[in-house]
Symmetry: C2
Subunit: 545 residues, 2 copies
């Protein structure tokens, strides 16, 4: 038998569509048919595999085999005295007996007396060697190990040896000389995605193709359809650990500066703040919708004397955007704070917060950033110790000087934002900067106009690598003025009366900002699609898995 599972049908095709354009019905049908075909083929392979039963007369049968489910139903407390994480297996452990648990990455038989199995755990891999020897390892055991399906979960026990030549197949430079090996949970013989295919970089694919070799490219939609497998690639393990670190630094920084974490409702009556489309639903007979942001409630928390608040939670946008940077549901990092009198106080927080986030990622997520970079090469983000601030008018001028036509009182489109990012990088050497004092007309009704020019506002956007990640502003804290502004913007006052009334009970001047967590990770890592930084992305055509 071959220890190499055949390349699955669905992934073996050279699919080049990395974009997320909606599949046509025909294409969707084709994919479904292919998946069905593959499923049938898997069943065949599984049936063939089960016929390879282990000989029953093996006196060493106790040293290997499938763990029965009943042994995993909390029958007894685990004995982990020999257990070590794969990542901790080093040369100093030579001759020590250890136990490991992980996934079968690959298996390889060498004749009938020897098999290799590379075991992966948390991104680390180690080569395990199973050699037939009297009293310990039978030929049947070698056969069992060589026949393990990839991605199955196994435990292995053996002593550590140090080979004389460097190991290419694994991250750890030691081997485990196996004496016991059990399969805890068997994976399908034929997986819809092979992890090594999903982990391959574009460069590797190009090189393989040039060399006339086959190299599977797994497209974005296939990855997302089988996200549970896709998540296992080193790049994805890195991406979501980086994401976790971003939230963590965000929170720890803000908590250290006296902010209080709050949780505002996602179910709200009426539409949350106008503008983009909302998801509507029936709430016990009342019309309701999903919050497009915690904007109104976080401001109410400021009116409620919490002084400085933040929230990390889902926000919902029903927009029909099929771009590389829009999702229908994403994780919002929201901040709101009392200010004395100037929106620069808010920008100061943005500045220190993000420099802290970037510094921490570069310091504490080195391995994760490397793992992402191996598959998706990127240059480290260029940012200054003190974040650059440019007035909107100045930004417009920079664009004009470069020959870009632009409406000075309009918003920047994605293209001008990107161009401005390039120009700012050339001029100031940073890919992270704040653009402030936007035209009032392009900001929400609750944005405070400038004291000296009502056509501009006390607002800002923040950019990474030419793409917007943060929007912020001073808010209108005067109820009458807020009412006037809402009316000017064509908003039905009756739908936001509770919000406006909040400012009648004494409201401090305040401001805040909102960040998209997925965008921060995407742009810090120079990724090309926000679906790569959302665990289970939601876009206008995807609501599964």
């Amino acid at each position: 038998m071959s220890s190499e599972p055949p390349v699955p049908t669905s992934a073996s095709e050279q699919v080049t569509d990395e974009s997320s354009k909606p599949l046509s019905k025909k294409a969707a049908k084709k994919v479904a048919a292919k998946e069905e075909k593959q499923r049938r083929r898997q069943d065949d392979v599984a049936a063939a595999a089960s016929s390879l039963s282990i000989e029953e007369d093996d006196p060493l049968a106790v040293n290997y085999g499938d763990v029965p489910l009943s042994d995993l139903q909390s029958k007894e407390e685990p004995d982990l005295s020999l257990r070590l994480p794969v990542g901790e297996l080093r040369q100093e452990l030579k001759d020590k007996v250890v136990q490991i648990r992980g996934r079968v990455q690959t298996t390889r038989a060498v004749g009938k007396n020897m098999a290799f199995v590379v075991v992966r755990e948390k991104g680390f891999t180690v080569q395990c060697v199973v050699t037939a020897q009297p009293e310990v390892v039978s030929r049947q055991m070698v056969k069992f190990v060589a026949g393990l399906n990839r991605e199955s979960i196994i435990t292995a026990e053996g002593f550590i040896s140090v080979p004389s030549v460097a190991i290419k197949a694994a991250t750890q430079q030691v081997e485990v000389q196996v004496r016991k090996l059990y399969c805890v949970n068997k994976a399908l013989a034929n997986l819809p995605i092979n992890i090594e295919d999903a982990a391959r970089s574009e460069i590797e694919i190009e090189e393989a193709l040039k060399a006339g070799e086959q190299a599977v490219r797994v497209n974005q939609d296939t990855r997302l359809n089988f996200r549970v497998l896709d998540m296992r690639t080193p790049a994805n393990q890195g991406i979501f650990r980086i994401q976790c670190q971003v939230s963590n630094v965000f929170r720890q920084f803000l908590l250290s500066e006296g902010f209080v974490e709050i949780h505002t409702p996602k179910l709200i009556g009426g539409s949350s703040e106008g503008g983009s489309a909302v998801f509507k639903l029936d709430y016990k007979g009342q019309p309701a919708c999903l919050a497009q942001s915690p904007q109104l409630h976080k401001q109410m928390a400021i009116c409620g004397d919490f002084g400085r608040v933040f929230e990390i939670g889902p926000v919902f946008r029903a927009e029909d955007s099929y771009t590389h940077r829009h999702l229908c549901e994403f994780t919002g990092l929201d901040v709101e704070m009392e200010i004395e009198k100037h929106y620069s106080e808010v920008m100061d927080v943005v500045d220190r917060l993000f420099v802290t986030i970037f510094d921490t990622l570069n310091d504490k997520c080195k391995k994760e950033l490397e793992a992402v970079g191996r598959q998706y090469p990127f240059e480290p983000l260029k940012y200054l110790r003190k974040t650059l601030r440019i007035r909107f008018e100045e930004g417009v001028q920079i664009l004009k000087d470069a020959g870009v036509e632009i409406d000075p009182k309009g918003d920047l489109n994605t293209e001008s934002e990107r161009k401005l990012g390039q120009l700012v990088l050339e001029k100031y050497g940073t890919e992270f900067y704040i653009l402030h004092r936007y035209p009032l007309a392009v900001r929400p009704f609750y944005t405070m106009p400038c004291y000296d020019d009502p056509e501009y506002s006390n607002s800002f956007d923040v950019f990474i690598r030419g793409e917007e990640i943060i929007s912020g502003a001073q808010r209108v804290h005067d109820a009458d003025f807020l009412t006037e502004r809402a009316k000017q913007c064509g908003i039905d006052i009756s739908t936001i009366s509770t919000y406006i009334d909040s400012f009648r009970y004494g409201a401090p001047p305040h401001g805040g900002f909102g960040v998209g967590l997925e965008r921060v990770v995407m742009l810090f890592c120079g990724l090309n699609n926000i679906r790569k930084t959302s665990l289970f992305p939601r876009d206008p055509r995807r609501i599964a898995p």
Copy 2:
């Protein structure tokens, strides 16, 4: 003029309904009418106040007055060189000039030459004294200060003095001898709720009534209708700071043990896990619903090799529960982890995690707990260093021994849970314990049955003060067995095929648990209603503010 604003109409009534029963239509109409009446009255008071214009010929007019809005529109960067938080005003600062900002808690005029204003900031209060004196404070300024509306935001500048007698009206034992005072934002003259009414304990109300005095009791619904004001009470400031601390310890503890924070989608196709009612919505033409828990997705993250994950996020339940402990939207703290073979590994995490949370609250939230206790007296939670674990069967026996009739293979109802809590407290001296090995029939389909008795399961609930706060279990990680269990529970397999398929690609044994953040805070503080621990609660009849 009187410096004491009249008691508002709506709150002056002795409303005793602290429960959350739905208001009848008639009662709701009555409340609306009362609010309208009060609004009109407020307008009258405001009109009267505005006629009290400050004399224009005051040469000291520069030292006081309303700050014009334009000065608060980011005109200039703030100068905070003299600024101190109210909570830091101490006797060592005697004769130093300081500037403070906060809300007007009360004002009191003493003749025409003197006024007192108590300023509140972040729960601390200080008495400010305004005395007419040549070159600094005019009689007009005294009048202006005495006429400030409660809850207005002001800044005041003056020197610190130390009075010879203890100050009862404020938390700080110094006074500010004011030389400048400006109103940053004016509150309505007549507020729907007075903060001191909302902050009054039941005991204080009873004592006042006994003494024949008037004491306003603000009912739960009025509080929630005007949550922005209600939030300002010391108890509520404490409650939500305690809530913030719970999330923070939860996360820090788990991060320190190698857990990764994830964000799973709230918008899902089909119903999330059956059981309780879901909120349905239309997702771009596809039927969808709001996740009742991150259960399936957090398990998929385990299958995706994240090893140990947690999430803090909203969960949605469309149940028609009007109890003191159910909400339609609450904050779920969810955990999922690989295990070796026993659900005790999960209970170990629960044990250490919650003992750490309780210890930290008792250590770091002393002031907040005191503030809550002053309004809602409670005994500190009794818990053991090593959390007590009782088998379900043992719990049933304890109840039986106490004469409580109970179905040994059924679930406990709220009443038996409470009774068992009392009995456990008497027997073991703890109000926090784990009840495990529940009957399989009362747990979700994905719960792993016991190895030795398929009528029981590897599951647990955790109780504080006789009420459930956590549900957890080992999960079925074998796809075929999971399918079988789902079918046995009458679940349509086609609706959860992606979930089940996740276990076909190699799945480690795993388990986890879910906690309701609001319940933890409610029960730790011995509060009687979960609406007190949700910033903007959602129940079957409330979707505002």
